[in-house]
């Protein structure tokens, strides 16, 4: 059974399969296509670029692309701070409502202490600052 939205994003799902995304699930429900899986940061970026090509500005709202590039990252792993321009806040707790303890510079390498949840990890800088940072801006240093 070929579903309309699944067809629209065929280039993306084909690329996901070709790139070897693990635990890949492609399901359509209530007019939205859900693509879930685990992959490296590079593959995740590749798939997001294809998404942006098919749906410029991501305005259709008919795809939820949930590719996790940090699933296999272990405690003690090195992470690079990949913010857009600014420093990364290190907070007292897992949320922007918690106070800021310190900052890590853009492109600085920090260490993963513990994964609180998918959005917030406890990290430690070489200076010894330790606290919660948003995973959106932490990229595992790939060997």
């Amino acid at each position: 059974m070929s579903l309309v939205i699944t067809e629209k994003y065929k280039e993306l799902t084909d690329a996901a399969v070709a790139a070897g995304v693990s635990n890949l699930q492609v399901r359509e429900q209530d007019g939205v296509l859900y693509v879930d899986g685990d992959a490296t940061g590079a593959v995740k970026q590749q798939l997001w670029d294809i998404y942006g090509k098919i749906d410029p500005d991501y305005s259709s709202g008919d795809l939820m692309l949930n590719i996790n590039s940090v699933a296999g990252v272990m405690e003690g792993a090195k992470l690079k701070v990949t913010t857009n321009r600014t420093n990364l806040n290190i907070r007292k707790g897992p949320g922007t409502d918690h106070s800021i303890l310190g900052k890590a510079a853009r492109h600085e390498i920090v260490t993963l202490v513990r994964k609180e949840n998918d959005q917030w990890w406890v990290i430690k800088t070489d200076d010894g600052e330790e606290g919660y940072s948003y995973t959106q801006y932490l990229t595992p240093v790939e060997a």
Binding site: R27, Q29, D30, V32, Y34, D36, K44, W48, G52, D57, Y58, S59, G61, D62, M64, L65, N66, N68, N84, G95, T96, D97, D118, Q119, Y134, Q136
Partner: protein
Amino acid sequence: MKLQLSRMLLLISAIALLGTAFVGCKKKAKDADIKAAIETALKGDPMAANTMVDVKDGVATLTGECKDEMCKSHCGDLVKGIKGVKEVVNNCTVAPPPVVPVITDVAADALSKAVADALKDAPGVAGTVKDQILTLTGEISKDKVQKLMMALNALKSMGLKSIDSKNLIRK
């Protein structure tokens, strides 16, 4: 004497044939009764609304869609208990679970908080979550959209079903 023998044989085989015919009728009637009894039982059970049954030689075959495994085994047990049922063949199919399940109020609060965290880096954007659907409004520069959407799409694992950004201006 020969005539009498063949007449006897004819009579005997006629009786035998009649006998098998009766047995065949009996079986069909019995199956129909069992089927009717099963259907009555299924109709009276809300879980079994979409379950159908066919009975042959006392073997009840179930078909139709059940919402989950528990529902399927419940239907099987129900039918097994009906008088006359020798065996149950349960061919009911279980519907797949929803891709994004309904979340509790506590989880919905956590989702709203996670959305707020994701929007921190896009100050011109406002978002509200209702029934696990996020509506975005405001303005954002085109070069920041991908990063924002990456962070928001990840919230599918927290119960976010979809994002409506029709009213979000990309400049």
